[in-house]
């Protein structure tokens, strides 16, 4: 799983569709989501890039992107937000939400 930094973030979102998990170590729901996000990254391999961004590394960048609650997954395409999923969800619901978000870029 690619861990983005404030430096690598801008370039990462300008490419094809990528979903980024804004998270923090102090956030229990974020930790709970992590294994699901990792599993789904393999399932969506080739269709959607997955990456994580620790908001402790760049709180301002998270706020600039309107992240006001974590975990927050934002799907970017060509540098723009396409969709977002807020909060921890069970795996089937998360899979479905990501599929729905991905349809918006196809």
């Amino acid at each position: 799983m690619q861990e983005l930094s404030p430096q690598s973030f801008p370039a990462a979102i300008t490419k094809g569709p990528i979903i980024i998990d804004f998270w923090a170590a102090w956030c229990g729901p974020c930790r709970a989501l992590a294994p699901t996000f990792e599993k789904l990254s393999h399932e969506f391999s080739g269709k959607l890039a997955f990456a994580k961004f620790n908001i402790e590394e760049g709180r301002d960048l998270a706020v600039e992107n309107g992240v006001l609650g974590i975990p927050c997954l934002i799907l970017f395409k060509d540098g723009k937000e396409v969709d977002r999923i807020v909060g921890q969800l069970p795996e089937p619901a998360m899979r479905q939400k990501i599929e729905t978000a991905l349809k918006k870029v196809r």
């Binding site: 229990g28 930790r31 699901t36 998270a62 006001l68 921890q88 069970p90």
Partner: protein, 309 residues
């Protein structure tokens, strides 16, 4: 032949402790949960769990999980939508992905969920300014105007946690009486960065892309007013969603699962532990102890019933 000897529903302190005990009793154990850690995850700093150094709640819960897994517990992520009792006294649990698992016994330990206000705008702006976890999201509101709704310990401590970060912090409560510990209330009242608004209740969350204000109703004179802000944290207690076992076990008016002192529910073969029960004190160490009791009772029931295979 069932899939498992015991399925534990929920992976907080009660469920994971129960898993340690059932595994050590050589019961084939599955833990199904929407998360790992439960309510303890909401605690950034747990220092009253005996024998361990003060640490974040999620960190302690990860140790619980590793401990349970070391004894053979299997974890699956998902929610149990229905529990059915079969003719042969085994149970079938339906998972929210549509699949099902069978088991000889069940331990309910799925705890509680944060209560919501159920007002217009709350769902729309969820994660866009409306939040429940101060510990998780407080750092994202640095320099912003925020409100905490509630009057218990979580609300008071949340306001105190936000005070050094936010440019302005309001604590909103529908009456004049606090439920928080007196020492916390004193701290709150002494903190000049927190404005306490009593006899007010939110009736609508407004915004564009993110929250911009809330509408408050005065609970005494009924007048409404708008309060401009960037974030609103709901710390108004928690509820139990035990609908999956409705009709199968006895529950009280709060939907908590009624148990005897050993964790037996009204349905033989179904046990419960932790915050899903009417236990008065919601504490990690108490849930862990209850989980152990329910697991041992479950083992006694299973071995008395058929013997462990």
């Amino acid at each position: 032949m069932t899939d498992y000897d015991v399925i534990i529903v929920g992976a907080g302190a009660a469920g994971m402790t129960a898993a340690i005990y059932t595994c050590r009793k050589q019961l084939k154990t599955l833990v199904i949960s929407r998360d790992v850690g439960g309510q303890t995850n909401q605690t950034n700093h747990i220092e009253n769990y005996p024998g361990v150094d003060p640490q974040p709640g999620p960190q302690l819960m990860e140790k619980f999980k590793a401990n349970a897994e070391s004894f053979g517990a299997v974890f699956e992520y998902g929610g149990v939508t229905k529990v059915d009792k079969n003719k042969d006294n085994t149970f079938t649990l339906t998972i929210d992905d549509g699949t099902a698992r069978t088991t000889r016994a069940v331990i309910l330990s799925f705890g509680r969920n944060a209560r919501r206000l159920n007002i217009p705008g709350e769902e729309q702006f969820w994660g866009r300014g409306v939040a429940t976890c101060v510990t998780c999201d407080a750092p994202l509101f640095k320099g912003k105007v925020v409100a905490v709704v509630g009057a218990g310990n979580a609300a008071a401590e949340g306001a105190l946690e936000l005070a050094p970060l936010g440019s302005k912090v309001y604590l909103i409560h529908r009456s004049e009486k606090f439920r928080a510990d007196e020492i916390t209330v004193q701290k709150l009242k002494a903190d000049k960065r927190v404005t306490i608004m009593l006899n007010k209740t939110p009736i609508e969350v407004k915004g564009d892309k993110f929250v911009t204000s809330i509408t408050l109703k005065d609970t005494i004179n009924g007048k409404t007013s708008d309060l401009p802000l960037d974030g609103i944290f709901l710390e108004i207690g928690s509820i139990v969603d035990s609908s999956a076992v409705a009709g199968l076990v006895s529950r009280n008016e709060q939907n908590e699962v009624i148990v005897d002192k050993n964790g037996n529910t009204s349905c033989p073969g179904i046990f419960a532990a932790g915050d899903v029960t009417p236990v008065k004190y919601k504490q990690t160490v108490i849930s862990a102890g209850e989980g152990a009791v329910a697991a041992l009772e479950c083992h006694a029931w299973l071995t008395g019933q058929k013997g462990v295979h």
